[in-house]
Symmetry: C2
Subunit: 538 residues, 2 copies
Amino acid sequence: MLESEETLPEAVDLSRHLSALARARTPSPLKNLQRYMNKPGLISMAGGTPNPMYFPFHTLSAEVLEKDAYPLELPAQSSSFSWFWRLFGSKSAERTTSFTIPKYPLKPDDINLAVSLQYSLATGMPQLSKVIREFTEKVYRPAYSNFQTLVHTGNTDGWGKCVFTLCNPGDGVLCSEWTYPSAMAGLRPYGVTPVPVGMDSQGMSSIDLRRVLFEWDPAANGGMARPHIIYTVPVGQNPTGATMGAIRKKEIYAICVEYDVVIVEDDPYYFLQQAAYVPKSERVKEAQVSGDETDFVASLAPSFLRFDYQGRVIRLDTFSKTVAPGSRLGWFTCNPMFAERLERQSEVSSQMPCGFGQAMVASLLLKWQYPGYVRWLRALHLQYQQRRDFMIDCLWDAFDLHASVATEGVQSGTVVYSARLKTLKGSLNEKGGVSTRGTVFSFVPPTSGMFLWFKLHLDAHPAVATVGYKQLELKLWMALLDADVMFSPGQMFSADEVVDETPGAGHFRVSFSMTDEKETKKAVEIFAAIMREFFTEF
Amino acid sequence: MLESEETLPEAVDLSRHLSALARARTPSPLKNLQRYMNKPGLISMAGGTPNPMYFPFHTLSAEVLEKDAYPLELPAQSSSFSWFWRLFGSKSAERTTSFTIPKYPLKPDDINLAVSLQYSLATGMPQLSKVIREFTEKVYRPAYSNFQTLVHTGNTDGWGKCVFTLCNPGDGVLCSEWTYPSAMAGLRPYGVTPVPVGMDSQGMSSIDLRRVLFEWDPAANGGMARPHIIYTVPVGQNPTGATMGAIRKKEIYAICVEYDVVIVEDDPYYFLQQAAYVPKSERVKEAQVSGDETDFVASLAPSFLRFDYQGRVIRLDTFSKTVAPGSRLGWFTCNPMFAERLERQSEVSSQMPCGFGQAMVASLLLKWQYPGYVRWLRALHLQYQQRRDFMIDCLWDAFDLHASVATEGVQSGTVVYSARLKTLKGSLNEKGGVSTRGTVFSFVPPTSGMFLWFKLHLDAHPAVATVGYKQLELKLWMALLDADVMFSPGQMFSADEVVDETPGAGHFRVSFSMTDEKETKKAVEIFAAIMREFFTEF
C-alpha cells in the first residue's frame, strides 16, 4: 500500500469506467464565467443571481446540544439507563450552546447568509468543504493524497449520481444478496440490474465475489457484460447489521483490482460501530468508550479508502445518522477524475446543497471543532449500543435464547442466537408439536448500525409446504401489524426477486433506533405472543 | 377552456409521453411501509430513522424582514432612490420579526425539528405542501381541479427530473433559439438534443413553432422523431427578458394540443414582472404598485396552467428569486400521473428537500400568510423595476439612444433602443468612419426578470469580415473583463452551437440585480469607453 503522501498512480486508467454519457458530457457553460467571479474590483453583471438585499432572512440562530451532551459511560443494567433516557427526553436537562449566522460577514471568512443563501458552485460552501476534507483525511486516511471530497445531498443522491456517472443501460451492479432496497430501486431508472453476491457475518463474501466474477458468462446473463461496479454498505450493513473488517476489505479490494471493478462504499452507519453484545446476565461492566478521540477513530473498521492505492473507491458519507437526515448533506470521496464528473452532474441536477442546511451544519462543526465532533460521535455510538443491548435483553426475557457458532449462510462465522418459544407455566396453554420446541427465529447481534436482522425459521411452520415461506413471512408481518407492531418484511431487502417456491427462511429487519424502553419491551412481548400463535394456531 | 372545478379529462392519454424508463419504473419498495407509519398506537421498528434525541439542533430561530419591509412606491428619479438603497443596505434600518422552531411540537401541527430534520416522504413537509398547493390554486388558477403540486430542490433539479421522466435518449426538446444554457447542458447527460425555435419580443414564436413541427422530417434530423416536449422560460425569458402574454400562450398551447407536445414552463422570474420602461426624461410619476393583492396577481401574465385543459403542462416554480436560491426549494405543478412518476424519481435521487430549508421557508410563509407573501412580491418586483430603470438611465447618459419599433428577429414587435457612440466634445478624440456613427448595440427594455439583452451590431465593426462575429464578441467580452466589467457572452445562450461564419450579431446578457447604483453607473461608463475603443481602435 502507498503512503498517503503519494498521489494516485497515473498508470491506472479508470476513465473506462465512466458511462458513455459521462464521457461525452461537456463541462457546464457557466464554469468559465464563475471562475472569474472572484477577481477583486470586478463589477460582475454576468450572473443570474438575485440581490441578497431581498433575502428575507436577516439572521439565523440555532440552539444546539453541547458536544458532550451525552456521556461516554452508561450503566450496565437498563433499569438505571431508563432513568437516563427520561432525563434526556425532557428538554430542561439538555445542555445547549448557540450560534447566530448574520446576513453579512463581520470577518471575511465568516459564514453569512448573503453567501450561504446565494447560488454557488456545486462544490458548496468553502468553509464546509474545508471541514469535510480535513475530517476525511484524519478519519479515513485515504491511501493517496490527491483524493477529492465533494458535497452531495445525501447518500441516496450520491449513489444515484454514481450510477449515472459509471453505468450504461444494460450494466449490472454487484451487491450483497441482502441489501438496501432504495439503492436497488435507484438502479432501475438507469436500466441497470443488481447482481447479488453471497454473504456471511462480515457482509459480502470475498469468496463468492471471486466466484461470480470468475464464472461470469455474458451468455448466461442475457448478454450482460461482467459488472464493473460494486455497491456495498460495509458497516452496519443494511439489513443484516454486519461489519466488514480490514482483512475482508483487503480481500475484496484485491479482487476488484484483478477484475477492474470500482467500489462504491455507502457508509452511513460508520460511526455507529458497537462493542460485541454481552448477554445481560454476564454484563457487569458499564458500557463505555475508553481512550481519547484518536483511540476511538483508530478503533473503527477502516474505510475502503485506506486500501485504495488505485483510486477505485467512491466513498459516500452523510450527516443523516450523525447530525440529522433532514440535513440532506453528505459527500463523495474519490479520485479527481470521478470527482470532476460528479461535480458536472451536480451542476445540472441538485446544484449546491441547501444553503440553510450547509450553513447550519458547517456552523455546528466549526462550533464543536474536530475533537468536539468526534466527542459527539463517541457518545452517539454508545447510545445506539445501549438501545441494541436493551432490545436483545428483552428478547432474552420473552424467548428461550441459545447461543452457538453458525457455520453457513449470512450468519456464518459468528455467534448466533436461536430463539425458541418459551414453555408456558401450566400445561393448559402449552401446545404440542415440533414447531413450539424448535428454533422459531435466530439472529446475530449486530456490531454496528441500528438494525436486528431476524431469520425466521419458517421450515418449522406447519403450513410451509402449502403456503410457501414468502407468503408466510407476509402473513406473520400482517399479524404483527394488526397487533400494532411494525417490522420491515425481509423480502424487501432481497437483491433478487424473492420467489415463493424457493426453500429458505423468512426475515424481518427490526430497527431499535426509534422506540423507547417501554415501547421496545412491549413490541418484543407482542412479537413473542404473535409468534406463539403463528407457530401453533395457524 | 374548462372551469377549474372540472377534473382532467381521461380521454387525453399523456402516458405515451413518459420515457421508457419512467414507464417501466416500479414504485419504491418503501412506499407501502411508509403508508402504515401514521397508524395511531403503532410501535414502528420498520424505518431506518435515527432517533431525533440525537439531532444536535434543539431550536432554530430566524430574524426575518417584515412582509412590508420594502415600499410599494418609489420616487421617479434615482437620486432619491439612491438614498433609499443606502437605507436598506444598512442593517439598523431594517424592520424585522422573528420565529423559533422548537425540537418538539407544542401543538400537533406545529413545525418542529424532530419531524423537519427527520427522513420524510419525497413529498416533504405537509405544512409546506399545503401552503404551496393553496398558493398555486390562488395565483395560477390551473384549468383543472385535480392538479398536483410536488416539491423539488430548485428548477434545475425539477427540469432534470422532467427530462428523465419524459425523454428517451435520442429525443429532441423544443426551446427558444436563445435560452438558459444550464437547462440545455442538462439535456446532454440524457442523450437529448435542443431543437431551437425562432423568437420575437414575446419569446418563442408560435408561427415558428408551428413551422418546425409541421415541417419536421426525421430523415433531415438524423432520424430524430418530432419532439414532444417544449422547454420555455415564458416570463423574464433568459436571456432576452421577454414576457409571453396570454394570447401567445394560447396559440402555443393550441399547437401543442395539435401536435401532442408537453410544455415544461420554467418560470423563476414570474413575480419580477415589471411595468414598461419610460425614459428618464419622460418619467414624472413615481413607480408604484396600485391596487391590492388580488389586483396585483390579476395583473400578471397568466401561467400556461391557466389554459391547460388537457394536463400537458408541467410548471416549475422556485423560491430562488423570491426568497433565496440557497433554499434549494421549489415545486412542480402538473397532472397526477406525471406527479406520481416525478415523486418516484425523487425517492431514488434527492429524496425530500433539505429539512432546514423546508422548515425555514414554511415558517416564513406561515408567518407572513398568503397576503403577506404577495405583499412581499409586490414590493420585490418594484425593486427590480427600479434597478432596470436605473441601468437604462445610465445607458442614456453614456450613449446616444434612439427609440424605434423593431420589425424582425428577437426584437420584433416592440420598442427597441439603438445606441450610438456619443460624439465627443472637441474633434481631437473623434474618429471618423461609419462605425462610430452607426448603431453599435441595441436592446429591448425587459418587462420582467433581471437581465438586459444587448444585441451587438458587429456588422458595423471594421474587422467583422476577417475575424467573424463570434470571435469579435469574445474579444469585446475579454476587453471588458480586462477593464473589470463582466457581462455574459451571448453565445453561451444559443440553443445551437454558434458558428463563427454565420452572419449576424453578437450579444451580451447583462444582469442588473446585483450591482448598486455606483457600480452600475461605473460599469456602463466603462462599457461606453470600451465600445468606443473597440469600434474605432481595433
